[in-house]
């Protein structure tokens, strides 16, 4: 029997944010964010730079405390649910001075606070190979990460997250600094991960054709501008609220208006 996406979406809330508010010192980074994401969904998190996308991901990953409101993952506080979440951070937050082999990076997904360098590598090597096979980079297992393209690096980081075998995958700026072809490859990979039952949240600046790629979109600009089906919630008002004076740049990105570019 083939697994379909509909079978994976269980309409069972996995991440519930209720009036979530996050502060850095005295300034509010996110205010009154409310949404509910069900298991197996594929969600785009969009908004301007500084809009709070990474802040929200950090909160879901249990790295930032809430100032107000509540955020639950499978009914648990984020810091209690750390094993349920895997996180691919923005590439510029990684120290690329370290010249590592692909397998070393993927192995980090299997490294936790009980990982000491004293145990057998057989099982570890098998898991590394499985994860790399899933992202189509098994042939690069011994390759130096400095020799990979931007798209390949992103896939290695996704393989690291897959090795962790968490239910939720957070991808921060997964499409930045990669070309269009590589973006499509990564999207296909995300679709197949999602088909395997993982819930995927992707922070992205690309709001083109969101309704074709994602089940839901969460629009942030220091607060929740909208949340829901992309074809319904990406209205002119919401885009205006997110991008303000840059709204004109996105004039063809409103609902039911994606295919009329250049025809006007």
């Amino acid at each position: 029997m083939n697994v379909t996406r509909e079978m994976n979406i269980k309409n069972k809330p996995l991440i519930i944010s209720d009036g979530c508010c996050i502060q850095y010192g005295d300034s509010s980074a996110l205010d009154d964010v409310t949404f509910s994401i069900s298991e197996g969904k594929k969600v785009a998190v969009v908004g301007p730079n500084g809009g709070g996308k990474s802040t929200l991901f950090n909160a879901i990953a249990g790295l930032l405390p809430l100032a107000h409101g509540s955020l639950k993952i499978k009914g648990m506080d984020p810091h209690e649910a750390k094993g349920l979440v895997s996180y691919v951070p923005q590439k510029d937050l990684i120290n690329w001075n370290f010249s590592l082999a692909v397998k070393d990076v993927v192995e980090m997904g299997l490294t936790n606070k009980n990982s000491f360098n004293l145990f057998s590598r057989k099982k570890i090597n098998e898991k590394i190979k499985d994860s790399l096979n899933n992202v189509g980079l098994l042939h690069k297992v011994n390759e130096n990460i400095n020799n990979l393209s931007g798209g390949q690096l992103q896939r290695v980081l996704i393989a690291r997250a897959l090795a962790q075998n968490a239910d939720i995958l957070l991808l921060d700026e997964a499409f930045s600094a990669v070309d269009v072809g590589a973006q499509e490859d990564i999207m296909q990979l995300i679709n197949s991960i999602n088909l395997d039952g993982k819930t995927v949240l992707i922070a992205t600046h690309d709001i083109n054709n969101l309704e074709e790629k994602f089940d839901e979109v969460l629009c942030l600009n220091r607060h929740c501008c909208a949340f829901g089906d992309p074809s319904e919630v990406l209205t002119e008002e919401v885009i205006q609220e997110m991008y303000g004076s840059h709204n004109e740049m996105f004039k063809n990105h409103f609902k039911n208006n994606h295919r009329v570019t250049n025809d006007n």
Binding site: N58, A61, G62, L63, K82, G83, V85, S86, Y87, V88, P89, L93, I94, N95, N97, F98, S99, L100, A101, D104, V105, E107, M108, G109, T111, N112, K113, S115, F116, N117, L118, G136, L137, H139, N144, N146, N147, L148, S149, G151, Q152, R160, Q164, G181, A182, D185
Partner: protein, 284 residues
């Protein structure tokens, strides 16, 4: 005849102690060097070395030897520097610069005020030929501690150094790992002060690691090669200082620099020869 000449230093107990101590320091520092340079912590390491001066001044005034002060001094410095850098929002370099210079100045003032008898030249540039058997045991023990921590926590330290956010999400205690690394780095630095001194300890930490990075492509290999370069520099430097009557600490530093120059030349030659042979990476 030549062998007799080469083995001549081993006739003297003080030289045997010095060679063991120099090799131990060389291994400790060069094993931590690759982590230090890839995390851009050279300035931090230099500050650690200079921050020892007031602790040594007070310790010697109270009747302790520099060797006995090693571990407690390392822990105090690691926690103090780690806390200041993390919690004072004036920029890492600025915070380190303030501690670096003020602690060094405080050390000199304390030496004068407390009227402590310390040979400053030995402290600044090392005096390995004066190490006692006790000192050798202490440095050997510190080497064991540093290598044990590095081997046991290698995976966690590597993950934390490469991607601190990813490491924290995976449940690693990044605050613990940060201080653990600072402590072992500080232990290696303080433990090597008699070998190369406050000023030159940085050379034995940074230069073998930098040379290793030029001749190998992977981080794990760079640690192995850095250790080989570090031991070679310290032992060869000591030998040269014995035969040519040179100051030992500076000679070790210069041998390390010589190794770096050779590594740089070989790196340039290899890159020149392979410049047109590197295959174009295909997107797959």
């Amino acid at each position: 005849m030549i062998i007799e000449y080469i083995l001549e230093p081993f006739k003297y107990d003080f030289m045997i102690r010095s060679i063991i101590t120099a090799a131990s320091s060389g291994i400790m520092l060069s094993a931590l060097g690759p982590f230090t340079i890839n995390r851009n912590m050279g300035f931090m390491a230099d500050a650690m070395a200079h921050a020892t001066l007031p602790i040594i001044a007070v310790g010697v005034f109270l009747g302790f030897s520099i060797s006995e002060l090693g571990v407690p001094a390392s822990i105090i410095i690691a926690f103090f520097l780690g806390y200041i850098v993390k919690n004072i929002n004036i920029g890492e370099d600025t915070a380190i610069g303030i501690i670096f210079s003020s602690f060094f100045a405080l050390g000199f003032v304390l030496i004068s005020v407390l009227d402590v008898t310390i040979n400053l030249e030995d402290l600044l540039f090392g005096q390995i030929l004066a190490v006692s058997t006790f000192d050798t045991y202490i440095v050997g023990s510190l080497l064991f501690i540093v290598l044990s921590v590095l081997i046991i926590f290698f995976k966690q330290l590597l993950f934390f150094s490469f991607d601190p956010i990813g490491a924290e999400v995976n449940g690693l205690n990044t605050t613990f790992l940060n201080y653990l690394f600072l402590i072992v780095l500080s232990v290696a630095i303080v433990g090597s002060l008699q070998t190369v001194g406050i000023i030159l300890v940085l050379s034995m930490l940074i230069i073998p690691a930098a040379a290793a990075k030029l001749v190998t492509k992977t981080f794990v290999n760079s640690i192995r090669i850095s250790i080989v370069f570090g031991v070679t520099a310290s032992v060869t430097g000591l030998y040269l200082s014995y035969f040519f009557n040179l100051p030992s600490g500076p000679t070790m530093s210069l041998v390390a620099t010589g190794i770096f120059i050779l590594a740089y030349i070989s790196n340039r030659l290899i890159n020149k020869n392979t410049a047109n042979l590197v295959p174009i990476e295909e997107e797959t």
